[in-house]
Each structure stands twice: as structure tokens, then as C-alpha cells.
Amino acid sequence: MTSIALVGNPNSGKSSLFNRLTGLSQKIANYPGVTVEHHSGRLRLSSGDLEVVDLPGTYSLVGRSPDERVTSDFLAGELKGVNAPDAVCAVIDACQPGRGLFLVSQIIDMGIPVVVALNMVDEAREAGQLPDASALSLALGGIPVIPTVAVNGEGIPALSSAIAEVAKTKVSSSVASLWRTLRVADAFGNDPAETARRHAWVRSKLGQAKWRPTGGHRASSDRIDKWLLHPALGFVLFLIIMGGIFQAVFSLAAPLQDGVEMAISALGSACGTWLSPGLARDIVTQAVFPGVGAVVVFLPQIVILFLLLGILEDTGYMTRAAFIVDRPLRMIGLSGRAFIPLMSSFACAVPGIMATRVIEDRRERLITILIAPLMTCSARLPVYTVAIGALMPESAQFGPFGARGLVLLALYVGGALTGSLVAFVLGKTLLKGDRHAPIIEMPTYRWPDPKAVLTRMAHRAASFLRRAGTVIFGVSLLLWALSAFPRADVAPDAPASVTAAAQLHGSIAGRAGRLIEPIVAPLGFDWRIGIGVLASFAAREVFVSTMGVVYAIGEGETEVAEAQLQAAMQAAVHDGTTRPVFDIATLVALLLFYMIAPQCASTLAVIRRESGSWGWAALAFGYLTVLAFAVAWAGRHVALWFVGGN
């Protein structure tokens, strides 16, 4: 199939055009560097279908950064497994045509047929600059120039037919080889005279089209930036905005979470009454619903956090946030570019680690990947909620603040500080070397497009659910099987809780828990917690449902009632003694362990994929596990020293 590549500067609207042309929804944001790999879709035309490929934004075809190289390699046909495109649709921001035309001049030199989409003409018009597309086309020697507004679809039919037209012209097969020769000779970009000639060419073309670009909405953006990037206030406003996001996530998500919880438990009980007693019913009510439910409950939080981050991304504020935090992040060896990945990791490390692709510097990217799991993701919250609940009553106060909330805050801060420390150490040891911070474009502020924000949020939510539906579902099943077999022999008239306890004790899971008890004993953990720790290597939130199984909560029901679980945990004693399992020191150790431990199979898998080797995933797993043990052990002893006891 004939293929067309969308090529243009970062943030010129390529992905928006791609979505318009193909009807697909690809990630769009008012943040340079969002498209990091190529995506393809189909443009349906009366003359037949065309393949359209969206590429990372670039300022030239030199390929100065990994994502820019994707674009130039793709055009040269050097990207593994894909053919070079038959034509290019160059996307130019009508408010910044100079930089766009610079790129066009290189595409023309490559000899690929090209059509120009002059995008964002709405903004240019508002800024009092109505570009004359036909004059520009004439200046460019007849290359079609189509004015478009990707966000509302203006000009898309004209662009489609221009693309159809240009796709008919055949590229000479010598182009790719010529291009390769050019690149070997480094003809582009390393010679100021050559670059200056190109800029002069651009100026002359703009002159011939009688066009004096203005840069768009700068005046209103500058008025906003006067406050948001104010030397002193800017940082305060940044903290308020980020604090506000977290506050909103917690307060908005709570009622929704209750709703989700109720719906799942209702569904579970309904299934429970439908199915006749037996293995199938046990699986459904004891494994499927509690396991998946424990994860789905966090969907509201993830959705709300991604919604708010998405809105901020689309307004253009995130680039400003990166600008503001560049200096502070530099102290730990990172740059402003690490901000969005780390911030996203507070929802879930998986999308956070994927977002590190915008970081050009390989070492910085690896450091960011390695510390992303230390940001408190929402999967830790169920564990924290249960453990903090067992640690202190709801009414506990510390000064004017609720003590539970303060402990939670301390865990968030603790994770972030640990991450900073690790980043600093990695930057001085394993991943030391000069960092290179790229030059980043500052876009103008824009109103977010609700449809774009919502589709992006839906994508992220769907990928989270897919994870809940596969990994965690599988793990829940496996875990249930491990704790349900071999079947224990108990008197049929024994009370249900005795049966369940005996079952667990004799099961494979129980044996494994006792096997690792000596390892976790220094943290004050018994074999039951050991099972929870083992099980939650797949995913942290599994700990809570495991404790539910361990303490036989919700026998016959599906809902893992939090209060019930807390009561059971408070009543639990070490086998054969009256010593409580969950004393203060153990709970502190448990919280600290979960603050650090890399208990998430999906995260490790994504680290492997993004770093390109199992080595980094193994390193992440190893260092986080050792650190988690050390910190939990230290925390336990500090707590023991405070409260007394052994």
C-alpha cells in the first residue's frame, strides 16, 4: 500500500491531523515530544486506501535525538521492518512557518514528493496573520500548500485530496541511496554556511509569499506566564497546582471508589447465589471478584489523575512545570524532562516509565526509569490504608491534623525522597557522566480539546484495566489455587474459620510462607505476612486480598470488608503465643517495605521493554528489594526503640 508520512516540528499538530485523516485516536498533547514511535493508520479515499504514518516531531532530518532519528531513519527507509514512505505530508505551524519550512527544504532536497499542511491557521488568523497559502505554494515551486485546522477539521478534505494526488507521483528508487550518501557525508546541519543558506531560502520564500509571521498568541501567553513563571510566585503556584491535583484526586475519587466497591461486591454476591456451592463458586467468589475488585477500585483515582494531568498537558502548563523544576531536579542529576514521567508514576509506574521516552539523554532516562517505581502509585494505597488503619484509630490526632493522613503523606514524601537519593547516587556511580539537557520549545497556552483529553484518558484507563484483567486476575487465580490445594482434612462440623485456617496452613501457599518465614522474620513478619509478600510480588494490591484469604474474611461473601480485616489483623497473634503479629514495629516495617519494594510484575516487564534489557529490570528488582528490607528493618528497630519491646 502507498504510504504517506506526517513530518513536522514538535507540537505542530501532526497527531491531531493524523487522527483527523485516519479516524484513529493517537496521543495528542500541547507538549513537545509526545509521539515517540511511529503510528500508522488508514486514510480511506475513493481512489483506494493509503497508509498514513505519524512520526515524532523534528526540527531537521539530521536526527539529533533518538526520537528525531526515528523520523529521519524512517524517511530514509532505514527503520527496521518498514519501507520508506512514498510521499510526505509536511505539517507546518502557521504561526511559526520559518522553522517548518526549514524542515521542508530538507525534505525537498531528499527528493520525496511532498504536500504541505499549513496547520493552525485559526491561531494565525486570530493573531492577525492570514497566511496566503496559494502565494506560498507558488513560492515553493508549486508544492501544494493546504491551510488546515486539525482541531476542528477545517481543510481536511482538501488535504486528503492533495495527499491522494501526490501519492500518485512515483519516487525514483535512487532517492534512498542518495539520501544515505548524503547522511554519510553529513551534508546537513554540521556546516553553518549550509544551515544559513537554508534559513536564507526560507526567508526568501516567506518574502515571496509576502508573509511576516508573528508567533501566534504570544501576548496572552505572556500575560499568563508573568504569573505562572514569576521568579518567586511561579514556584509557589507550581506547588499549589500540584498539591491541588493530589487533593482533587483523593477527594473526588473517594465517593466513586465506594460506588465501584459496592457494584463489585453486589455483582460478586449475585454470582455467588447463582452458582451452586463447589469449586466453581469458590473460584468466583474467593478469587475472581476480590482479586480483580481490589484493583478496579483504584480506577477512579487513576482516571482522575490522568484527566487532570492530561488537561495540564494540553494547556501547555506541563512544559512550564518542566521549566520550573529543571533546576531542582538537576540537583539529583535529572532534568525538567523527568518531571512528567515521575508525576505520572504517582498514578502508576507503567505509563510513567513509558513517558520517559521523551528524555533524550540515555543515562538520565535510565535513572528516571529506575526510580519511577519509588513514586507512590495508587496500587500501594490499599496496603497503606489497611496497615495504617491497623496502626492507629481514625480519631488519632497529631496537632490539628489527622494522624492517619500524616502517615500517608509521610509515605508519599518518603518514597519521593528515597527516589531522589537513589537518583543522586546512581548519577554519581553506575550512570555517571555528562548529562545533556536538550533545548525545549515553549508552546503558547491553548484551551484543551475535551475530546482529545478524554480519549487519552480512556486509553490510559483501558490499559490499566487490561493489566487488572490479565496479570492480576491470573495471579489471583493462581494464589487462590495455591492456598486451596492440597485440600485439608477437617471435621465437616468444624466452624468455617477453623476450616479456612487449617486449609491455608496445609496448602502450598502456607508451606511457602513458612519456608520464607526465617527471611522475613527480622522484619517482624510471620508466615502469613510472608504469603502476602510473596503473592504481592505480582502486584502490591494483591497483599490486601491475600490477607483477606489468610484471615478468612468474607467467607461466603465477596467483599473484603476493610474494617473486618483490620480487626482480624489486630487480633492476630504469632503461632502458639499471645504476641500480636501486627504490633506497631511490624506495621511500621510493613509500611516501609511496601514504600520501596518493587512488587509489581508489570513494572518490571515495562522496565525491561523500555531499557531494552533484562539487566536493568533485574537491577531495579534487586536494589529495590534489598533497600526495602534494609529500610523496613531499620524502621522496625527505630519503632521498637521508641515504644519499647523486643
Partner: protein, 94 residues
């Protein structure tokens, strides 16, 4: 970097009336004299930072770095050390 480049950069540094961009008083535009060798030289060139072009520091981040600059209606954020490689003319017509 080859020898002639090095000589060229030294000559640029020595130019009596050219100073690194961060040292130039802000609040007005300056003419670019040259870009010193560095990891971002090629990028700066292709963004249009070439001799004779007007450049302006728009603002500086809260802790003094990075800086936001304007060239040809576009805005970019770059770190202070990168901005130091941009030499601008302090006086006289270009």
C-alpha cells in the same frame, strides 16, 4: 572539533564587543555574533541562531536556570551553559 574550529571559537570569545547571552543585560534584543562549539551548536543553528539574527532572553526560571529565549517569534527553554555558547554583540550595528 578540528583545529580551525578551535581557533575560530577563540577568536569569537576574544571579539571585543561580543559577550555570552546570559551576561548581556536583559530587556532588549541582541544580535547574534556566533555560536561556540558545544553539544547543541548544530541544533541552535537549525533553530535559526545564526550570526545577524536577533535574540532575546524572555525570562529566567526561579532558580536562575534554565532561560527562555526568543528567536524569530519562537520561544525555547535552554540551560544557562547552553546559552553561554551564544555570543551576542554589545554595541554598534551588526
Amino acid at each position: 572539533m578540528d583545529a580551525t574550529d578551535e581557533i575560530q571559537s577563540h577568536r569569537d570569545v576574544m571579539k571585543p564587543n561580543s559577550i555570552p547571552l546570559p551576561d548581556a543585560p536583559s530587556g532588549r534584543s541582541w544580535g547574534v555574533v556566533s555560536v561556540l562549539d558545544g553539544p547543541d551548536r548544530g541544533r541552535l543553528w537549525e533553530l535559526g541562531v545564526l550570526p545577524g539574527i536577533e535574540i532575546r532572553v524572555v525570562r529566567v526560571a526561579p532558580m536562575g536556570c534554565p532561560m527562555e529565549i526568543e528567536i524569530d517569534g519562537s520561544r525555547f527553554a535552554l540551560r544557562r551553559e547552553t546559552a553561554r555558547t551564544i555570543l551576542v554583540a554589545t554595541a554598534g550595528p551588526l
